[in-house]
Symmetry: C2
Subunit: 497 residues, 2 copies
């Protein structure tokens, strides 16, 4: 019978978002000082709106926009928030709800409720934004608004600056806020780490619950259902960080399996590998965890070879991570270890340095080693303004090329996949065919292995926040019914983790 060592889910103090705001204002003032600009004006952000499906009244479950969530922690749609740069005062603007709201959607809360709950200094209605902000800085003809506008380097989309009635009465700055706020998000506070740790704990436990219940003959989506249920039932996680990837057999070489066109609907069989990439989100903060194992609970020699190649890469990277280390170098380290293992296993022949130079690593691991993680699964800030993406296969898929900094949370997710679309051309190419032994044909259709942990970079090294069984002996033991207790951390104590 399912249960959890992690219930009840912890209360997350709203102070987390107060600190996020303070951090932003400190950074913003530093920036303004350094460019001799006065400390006046407002940061103004618009929260997300509820969306309906196509032309219908089907309301999609609302999830707050991430920058707004970061600064204000507001779970409801339709809000705006501002911070007075001179005073640091925070202002929240709530939608003025029609009286029918009380009948259909719930109690209409007074502004004082939002002020208290979200720990802001002042609360108004959204139809009062212009008058309120003008009132706050009497005497200034056109107060300055710092609006959010900037590129998300994973989606190539731009964030949408706030819009409201009366905005033409203000001067607008669209360039300053985005990079500074993004960099605040890159470096996590202790309170943020505590939430990410909880998301990791409950997700790790949910992965273990899945491992314990896998049986050949099940459908892939049943593993998704077990995970989702554990994370929600015991962890209070209504959202996941991303759509669950529950890939078995050959599907495990499809990096982003699980979407509507490949909806985890295969019946898996004895002997299949599985690759389960699933992470719950708690109070806006996510986790991103992948476990790979044979569905029957016992690794074959071939499975052992590929799994340990990836695990060695995973462990070597984590052992090397500390502030200052280049993420591109970590990616190459992972590639090197995987190639060495494949060579040792007889799948590849020749010099590993030569393979690296010919980018053979990217045939087996076409994705980046990992990415920043936080309120978004692919948290922003991976490329600073002006930074160029690497162009080489594999490296060009990196979501960040930065050097590690204390406070970053990064996923470490090496993988080794047998993808015909990449393998076949590489085996034929004049520059790379020589590296492939005929042994590799045995692995066509194998699928792939990915091992993904969420890692926090601290002053001297790093900390793996993910608590899943990783060694083959651990996985086989858990799948055979062995214990795998996940210790509840002290998440919040005197506001720290």
């Amino acid at each position: 019978m399912a249960s959890s060592s992690l219930t009840p889910p912890p209360e997350v103090p709203m102070k987390l978002h107060v600190l996020n705001r303070n951090k932003l204002i400190t950074s913003l003032r530093d920036h303004l000082s350094s460019s001799s600009h006065p400390h006046h004006g407002f940061v103004l952000l618009q929260g997300g709106e509820e969306q309906t499906r196509y032309c219908t009244d089907h309301a999609e479950l609302f999830r707050q926009e991430s920058y707004f969530a970061y600064l204000f922690g507001v779970q409801e749609p339709g809000f705006y928030g501002a911070i007075d740069i001179a005073t640091g005062k925070s202002l929240l603007f709530a939608p003025r709800l029609p009286t029918e709201y009380a009948v259909w959607l719930g109690e209409i809360k007074p502004l004082s409720y939002y002020k208290e709950r979200y720990m802001v200094d002042l609360a108004f209605y959204t139809d009062e934004i212009a008058t309120t902000l003008l009132n706050q800085c009497q005497g200034v003809a056109q107060p300055l608004l710092f609006l959010l506008h900037g590129l998300n380097t994973d989606s190539n989309n731009y964030s949408k600056p706030a819009e409201f009635e009366g905005i033409e009465k203000f001067e607008k700055d669209l360039n300053t806020l985005h990079p500074i706020l993004t960099e605040c998000r890159v470096l996590k506070t202790n309170l943020e780490l505590a939430v990410i740790q909880y998301a990791n704990d409950i997700s790790s436990e949910a992965h273990v619950e899945v491992m314990k219940n896998v049986k050949a003959g099940m459908k892939e989506y049943q593993l998704e259902s077990i995970f989702l249920h554990h994370a929600y039932m015991y962890g209070g996680c209504r959202h996941c960080s991303y759509t669950c990837i529950c890939a078995t057999g050959g599907n495990s070489s499809v990096l982003h399996y699980g979407h509507a066109a490949a909806p985890n609907d295969r019946t898996f069989e004895d002997g299949d590998m599985s690759l389960l990439d699933m992470g719950a989100e708690y109070k806006f903060y996510g986790s991103d965890i992948t476990c790979s194992f044979p569905v029957n609970g016992k690794f074959t020699n071939d499975q052992r070879l590929i799994y340990n190649a990836v695990l060695d890469a995973h462990n070597a990277v984590i052992s090397s991570m500390k502030p200052g280390v280049s993420w591109v170098e970590m990616h190459k380290l992972a590639e090197k270890i995987i190639l060495e293992s494949l060579k040792k296993g007889g799948l590849l022949v020749g010099d590993v340095h030569d393979m690296m130079a010919e980018r053979v690593g990217a045939v087996f691991m076409p994705h980046g080693l990992g990415h920043l993680l936080g309120i978004d699964t692919h948290d922003p800030g991976g490329y600073l303004k002006g930074a160029e993406r690497p162009k080489e296969p594999g490296l060009k898929s990196l979501r960040t090329s930065r050097a590690l900094l204390e406070g970053m949370v990064v996923t470490v997710e090496p993988g080794c996949y047998f993808i015909d679309a990449l393998l076949v051309p590489a085996m034929k190419s004049p520059s790379t065919s020589k590296f492939f032994s005929s042994e590799i044909n045995r692995f066509r259709g194998f699928g792939g292995v990915r091992i993904e942990s969420d890692v926090y970079v601290n002053a001297h090294g790093c900390l793996n926040m993910t608590k899943c069984p990783r060694e083959i002996s651990e996985i086989e033991s858990v799948m055979a019914g062995g214990p795998w207790p996940i210790k509840k951390s002290v998440y919040f104590e005197n506001g720290a983790c």
Copy 2:
């Protein structure tokens, strides 16, 4: 230990959507003949596109647009579909996927795969729409396209007509298709009924699973989690028809509780009523089911009074439903029975006809009695073009005012709620205060009761497709651990249900 009598979920034959297309073409030809228009041109629909969250690359789980799903049954995003009105031939246009798709998202399927899987006559790429359609009707200078444009009377939004490169080479008709296609959706085929029956069966079983596991001290969302898990794990339902409403105590008087601003997060207590409105969706077709019961499994006298008032209304309506019956009259019937019960229970005094005239029924049941159900929870077609919405309280909330027709699936969902925002003004109003006895004050904070079943109108009456415990004795027995087996229907046999 949870299990299900309904596994494995049934295979839904693609013929369902072929029949939907045939039905549309027959209707459309009839319409064109009756207005002496020639049978030429194409019906052209654009399927849904995958959406990302705000500026990020977080992909929302795709759900097909409902009209497109109805005609083509396509689960993937980015498609278009057409039907040649003269020949009835169906054409599907698939997105041309980049080669990287194979690495990240899965095998790139050939057009023949889609042609076969979706049982269409021809398959092309979406960049071939204009040339293909022009080729199909050589000699016609500007072939006619019937595009989807019309009002959704629940959302007040308009469906978005298809757009594609080269559309300017065609003549467009924006008025004909929407009402005819919508009316096709109103009247279900046997194949559609079979899918709705399955969605009802698995959802009914999931509701029973919840009833068996409710305990005071739990969180509301844990009931949501149990429901979702049962429907997905055993029923293969990845989507629900709508966000789960798990309301307990006073929350059960909030009609659409459960959204992001009221996220099923209360801890419920011994003595609370619960109102659980949850329905799974299977292969596009939905269910919409509400159960109400005390969380401790034993009804008090007051709970019994309100529950039976609603159950009597529910049963009386179902006993009266048949083709030709006005849904407005059914709403009034439900109101009358509830008011009579409240009078019998001492909460109201005076003449029930007078109460009805003063719309006291709408104080206790401000929503409509029910709505069409199908691929959308609030399925379109509730108001025919030109039909006016009733204006009176309660009646104005009806999502349809039509007379019942054989083939409709309608929810029957009477409710009785104690909503201060409505009750307090009505108790004070000169025209209605006389009807309220002081007994009613005992029920302030009671919350509410709703009982909702999905009902199919057949030639001579109707059929309740929902299989939940409804009588108080049944509910108490199930909650005490008694059996409630749900018999697996024969869903598909020779293509019929």
